[in-house]
Symmetry: C2
Subunit: 247 residues, 2 copies
DNA sequence: CGGCTGCTTGAACTTGTTCAACAGCGGTGG
DNA sequence: CCACCGCTGTTGAACAAGTTCAAGCAGCCG
């Protein structure tokens, strides 16, 4: 399989062979595995490397003292967590595997070397982190303004498009290994109401979700129901302006 | 008044004279003014410079087709918007002045020069943008998990601490020029319910809010009520490790 | 004074929560 | 092979939190 990070960044800019090689190199160092539900890192820990998701799903989350949990972001293959985390003294949130997970721990030194040697890659990584910031903002809109129905629909649209951008969809379907409890924690709904909302979405023929497979028969329709506009994902080949297929 | 950006960044690292001078320089170019409610930039516009807030309050926001509006972030003096925005083709959200506003438009070239010449400043700016990302994440927790009461309390704690970090509080009070409708749009509540929530907070003697002045008689108590933990603001002089009072 | 914007109130209503119970499934151990 | 356990998904019914609508008030500025 093609490296999902490379694939995603090429949505932004064409990368040279050397660039691609450097990225593949990132993905081959200090590779680690986790079981579903294990923490990658916990609030309060000192961050000393950047995590690059290679396969499986993970999430960022925070819990309140009384146990309420909010999932803050989903991390998919090709996602890189916070280029500069080292700068901070301690993590302000936790990260956990949702499925069995493979990821690479990229050291500070490695990141710095990459930055120096591959300006085009660096640019693309900044683009990626701006997109992540935009996603985070959209989640605020989602949680603050959308109804349960719209909110769940919106999340599904987003995840589907993000998966597609790393080549992890097949036609109108994709793997969807998230439990309803996780979805509830991501959308700020109770598990019960989330369940009923999914049923509504099914009833409206907007989604088919069975086992761990999600099918979206009519993406346009789902987007309309969610008041979803994909602009914040900045996927429209922004940086075809930088075309440099060998440096 | 001391430059708020310098003051904030010094929470992270000691800056040399030259560093400080460079930052003050940022704040003196292409200074612009807006009236309350005017947009700085609108969704869909092409971003071609970074905005540095000099005085007054602003916000980021998004609106849905049917008019629902979510305020996504508050921008206070000393706040700098998205170091790298130029990378994106178009804005995925809007920004507006809440009060009469003074801000500086910093060109791409100027930012790049700053980055090259002042690595310590660059580092501090990255710190600042990581903190902004953390704030954005915390807003998700706020919107997704906290009750109206906790949510409003939490927002007030955050704003108070952020204002304090740029020297804009006086004892237990600060200027608070935000209308209830704005607060409602930031917390995802209806204006009516926001109003009642403020009354509850007043009734519990957690805040005094009259006119445009906010007083928090017992910050600890308000934080406790909000389940507020300040760690995500990373204000605990993280970077006293870098002390270099002249380069 | 008149008109605007922002704040406040009451009452009916809706959306989403909570609690409690149960069904389905896969895995594990006896 | 069956019994049992734990996790995930599903259901009903009572309940609570927050919304909506509509009206009125207060303060401010011209």
């Amino acid at each position: 399989m093609i490296n999902p990070l490379v694939r995603k960044l090429e949505k932004f800019t064409k990368l040279s062979r050397a660039d691609q090689e450097a990225l593949r190199d990132l993905a081959s160092q200090r590779v680690r595995h986790l079981n579903a539900r294990d923490d990658l890192i916990h609030e309060g820990d000192r961050p000393d490397h950047v995590n690059l998701i290679l396969s499986g799903w993970a999430c960022r989350y925070k819990t309140l003292e009384d146990g309420r949990r909010q999932i803050i972001a989903f991390l998919l293959p090709g996602d890189l967590c916070d280029l500069n985390v080292f700068i901070l003294r301690e993590m302000d949130h936790s990260m956990a595997a949702i499925t069995p997970l493979t990821f690479a721990e990229v050291t500070r030194e490695h990141m710095e070397a990459l930055t120096l040697d591959h300006p085009r890659v660096t640019q693309a990584l900044w683009w990626d982190s701006l997109v992540n910031a935009a996603i985070q903002r959209e989640w605020s809109v989602n949680l603050g303004q959308r109804t349960a129905f719209e909110r769940v629909a919106h999340l599904l649209c987003e995840l589907f498009l993000r998966l597609r951008s790393v080549g992890m969809t097949e036609g109108t379907s994709c793997d969807f290994p998230v439990t309803q409890v996780d979805l509830a924690d991501a959308t700020g709904l109770s598990a019960v109401h989330l369940n009923r909302t999914l049923q509504e979405l099914r009833g409206a023929d907007l989604i088919v979700l069975r086992g761990k497979l999600l099918t979206i028969p009519d993406l346009e329709a789902l987007q309309a129901a969610a008041l979803f506009s994909p602009n914040y994902l900045h996927l429209n080949h922004e940086g075809q302006r930088f075309d440099a297929n060998d440096a």
